[in-house]
């Protein structure tokens, strides 16, 4: 029978990867659960003791935690629509026939932002958005905007860089969807109607949906993970205006030294991630 092999063979092939990933991906989670049930402060290691679910009840009633959570989702609902609108426009431009050379160039330049080291994006942000020495204010015609030091501007700046880095990704995903539309079907539709919108809505959309779902899922996960770029650019400040969930947990655990509380926050974040993933799967992959 095709594909039937002994258990021993299967284990020999799969075992190392399973053991490896369990050791680095699951064992630490179990340890995090253990830590979260303790009073565990890096500056008071002699006083580590079991306190049950106290850390969890602290987190659940902690305004700062839920504010960071809310801020994270606010970033998602601000940046994602921009990325989708801009990405869709770029994809539609690139999908039009002709101008092959410049379009190839464009596609290659789109690859650059999303491969850039996140920390470097943050550093670029610091250099380009500095109020006095930055090129951004110069390009805005000698504006005097305090990007990094003002809470709302700092948030806008994070949105800018998130959009800069990930719009190309959305554009290329959607472009891949557009190229899946059979040529004859698209041409036939264009003969029927002059409206580009109608073609997009009724002919191209079905091919774009899987890509849009993928974008939604991945941008949600990545926003919950967002750390490197923001840490480099603002460290979560000024105040807590750009302190997204991963930055907040890092601050509590490593700058506030409270590993127990941070672990409880991390486990709750993990649970929220799993619930979101389940909802997405239920809603979008019903057929599975």
């Amino acid at each position: 029978m095709r594909g039937q092999v002994s258990r021993k063979t299967i284990f020999a092939f799969v075992g190392p990867a399973v053991i490896g990933l369990a050791a680095v991906g699951i064992a630490p989670l179990i340890y995090a659960v253990w830590t979260s049930l303790h009073f565990y402060n890096l500056t008071k290691l002699k006083k580590v003791k079991f306190i049950g679910f106290e850390n969890y009840s602290t987190v659940l009633t902690d305004e700062v935690f839920w504010q960071a959570m809310g801020r994270t989702f606010f970033l998602l609902v601000t940046a994602l629509p921009l990325q989708i609108i801009l990405g869709m426009s770029i994809a539609l431009v690139l999908h039009q026939p002709g101008l092959t050379l410049i379009k190839t160039l464009c596609r290659l330049s789109l690859v650059l932002p999303m491969a850039t080291t996140y920390a470097v994006v943050g550093l670029l942000g610091q250099v380009m958005f500095n109020q006095k020495f930055g090129v951004m204010n110069q390009l805005l015609g000698g504006a005097d905007i305090n990007w990094i030091g003002d809470p709302e501007n700092a948030f806008a700046m994070i949105v800018f860089w998130d959009v800069w880095q990930w719009t190309p990704f959305v554009a290329l995903v959607l472009l891949a969807g557009l190229t899946m539309v059979p040529g004859e079907v698209e041409e036939a539709a264009r003969l029927e109607t002059k409206s580009k919108w109608t073609v997009l809505r009724y002919v191209q959309m079905p091919f774009l949906l899987p890509g849009l779902v993928a974008v939604l899922i991945l941008r949600t996960a990545d926003t919950l993970k967002l750390f490197d770029m923001v840490f480099t650019l603002t460290r979560g400040g000024p105040g807590s205006s750009t302190e997204f969930i991963s930055l907040m947990i890092q601050r509590v655990g490593f700058r506030g030294f409270d590993q127990g509380l941070a672990s409880a926050q991390a486990i709750i974040l993990l649970i929220i991630t799993i619930i979101l993933a389940q909802i997405y799967i239920r809603v979008f992959y019903k057929e599975v």
Binding site: I10, G20, L99, V121, S246, Q250, G253, L270
Partner: protein, 272 residues
């Protein structure tokens, strides 16, 4: 007809897109060639006499060279380890039928969703207790949490694309599954293996948070080093951008090499 006009507007649009994508890199490289005095002119200057001083100072006086070597060692080692563990698993997932295969696949792939901070906390405590802080091996291991899934994801796909008849023929000759993988399927799957290696390298090379938390001096990675330049009040923009350029150039070259597959790799976990 308005064809010529729409053609021109298309060209303008494309040029704008390219400019927006590329301009930050242009600014990064030019700033890296400025002296400290020129870099801190307000408003910024666009024309100046370039100097390579920032690169020389950053690499040899501030120790960026060593952090680049650290990053290189870690990224290459973790990629090799991910391939050694991941390729056989991918082969099994593509070729064998067994119970729980779907769940296993799902578990491998959804690892991408887990926020790294969730792993960073316990990993830090474990590494501290075992005396593994500031060691390359610690980063090499933790980077497996995202490299192993990406290798399995891409290589499984690649193995699935290889006709089964080849296996069958070899099996009739008496070849073991391991021989079939190594001698027949692996050479044909090399493009996928190469792409997954590039991904694994890029992700590891780009990573900051684990590098920041799990290293101090000995194993400090280049991104962690670049960030530490920002501490203090002198704002050494030229040096920071020189370091950034050194970090980003290899990644951009790799990304352009794998540009066709980049989107596929980044959508891991969200498309079947």
């Amino acid at each position: 007809m308005t064809a010529p006009r729409s053609l021109w507007s298309q060209i303008v649009l494309l040029v704008v897109i390219i400019t927006v994508c590329v301009f930050p890199f242009y600014w990064m490289v030019t700033t890296s060639l400025k002296t400290q005095i020129v870099a801190l002119e307000a408003p910024p200057v666009w024309l100046f006499e370039p100097t390579l001083n920032n690169y020389r100072e950053a690499l040899f006086e501030d120790g960026v060279l060593r952090t680049l070597i650290n990053s290189l060692v870690v990224a290459i080692s973790t990629t090799l380890l991910a391939l050694i563990l991941g390729v056989p698993a991918a082969f099994a997932l593509a070729r064998f039928e067994f119970r729980g295969k779907k769940d296993l696949w799902f578990w491998f792939i959804t690892n991408r969703m887990v926020s790294p901070i969730v792993l960073a906390l316990p990993f830090f405590l474990i590494a501290r207790n075992l005396g593994l802080l500031d060691k390359h091996i610690t980063l090499i291991l933790i980077y497996l949490t995202f490299n192993l899934p990406i290798v399995i994801w891409i290589v499984t796909d690649q193995f699935r694309g290889i006709p089964y008849d080849l296996d069958e023929a070899a099996r009739l000759e008496g070849a073991s599954q391991f021989t079939i993988m190594r001698k027949i399927c692996l050479p044909l799957a090399m493009p996928g293996v190469a792409v997954s290696a590039i991904f694994s390298f890029i992700f590891s090379w780009n990573e900051l948070m684990f590098g920041l938390i799990l290293t101090r001096t000995e194993a400090k990675t280049a991104p962690a080093m670049a960030v530490s330049f920002m501490e203090g009040y002198s704002l050494p923009y030229g040096k920071i951008m020189a370091t950034s350029t050194l970090i980003v150039i290899p990644v951009l070259i790799f990304a352009l090499l794998a540009s066709k597959q980049l989107v596929r790799g980044l959508t891991m976990g969200a498309v079947k």
